[in-house]
Symmetry: C2
Subunit: 193 residues, 2 copies
Amino acid sequence: MTLPRDYRGQTCALARSMEIVGERWTLLILRDAFYGVRRFGEFAAHLGVPRAVLTDRLTALTAAGVLERRPGTGTGRREVYGLTPKGIALWPAVRALTSWGEEFHAADGGPRRVFRHAGDEAPLDADGRCTSCGTAVPVADVVVAPGPGLAPATPDDDPVTAALARPHRLLRPLLGPPLTTAPPGRPTRGSQR
Amino acid sequence: MTLPRDYRGQTCALARSMEIVGERWTLLILRDAFYGVRRFGEFAAHLGVPRAVLTDRLTALTAAGVLERRPGTGTGRREVYGLTPKGIALWPAVRALTSWGEEFHAADGGPRRVFRHAGDEAPLDADGRCTSCGTAVPVADVVVAPGPGLAPATPDDDPVTAALARPHRLLRPLLGPPLTTAPPGRPTRGSQR
DNA sequence: GCACAAGAGTTCGGTGACTGAACCGTTTGG
DNA sequence: CCAAACGGTTCAGTCACCGAACTCTTGTGC
């Protein structure tokens, strides 16, 4: 696997990047990680990726230092996958490819999701800068919100899709323990589907 | 091919992008197109990609509107592949992935290639802005230059690698007809190897 | 013109990766 | 202690990729 799968002879940094994040599903997994997806089952249900491939990708990304396994917070929860600083540094690439897709392959009603600056709620421009204050917005201050082109929610949506129907700060866990503001009458758990 | 190879069920623009530029070799082909590579044989020799795969990628990218086939300029030359505006819009993504690779997987001596602003020769920062004048540099004003980590040239380098040993403006043809400032005593042709 | 050579793809067998579904051991909650 | 959920593995079938040889077209030298 190590030899025939790399880009031999390339003296370019892009080839090195592609060896790590260039395989099928990898960037979608990382996008979900930015959205706050943290657990194996959440990735699997939201992406529809074969579980064997997901195992392989999570292992490879962890070995590459892009993701890391952390003990789950809260009441002795399972381990979760989280972005390392090296992984967070991929945000400009993820954002650029996403905005390219929105620009040239938008849904009928417009963008499916929009990224906004958490402070002033203004959308980001093509270079990832706040259209209001003009600053380069750090990842942790980006909010992903549903756009007009997003299909309406259906009852059989997976939990991640359902959670993304509301604006959400990047890197914050999307589901699970830190759900301190849970609706009353429901025990604080991670698997509300 | 159309059904099993897409990312079904994804409502995200990133998935649309990955269907177009997410396959193996595709982003490296586009990087070469930004460098000014234009012909089938140049791509093949520089990348080492199997020719059948190259044919498939060039066809797919042309069908997607990212590349286009143009009649070769000069004395009735063959057709060449060039970036469309839609393809040029991918520059932030290519640049982001390249700079990520340089930052986290640099060669021993430092970056292999550096991107500079054509006017003032200052390098670009992580967001693609000129570190001197601060403006977001458009693609056509970017110069790719060899960096300290680039391996020294060898006699059996392909023509593209040899040409990239010198600073070069992006999107300008790297080899071929527009070589008006050719060294004296050599006829103006495209296949000097 | 005409033979020749180089460029641009095509063909093809072998190999590895991805898919989808079933299966298994552990963890968690009751 | 039990049952469900979870995380991950196994496996057969399919598809994409690799590498080399081959064909067809285009331009060149005579």
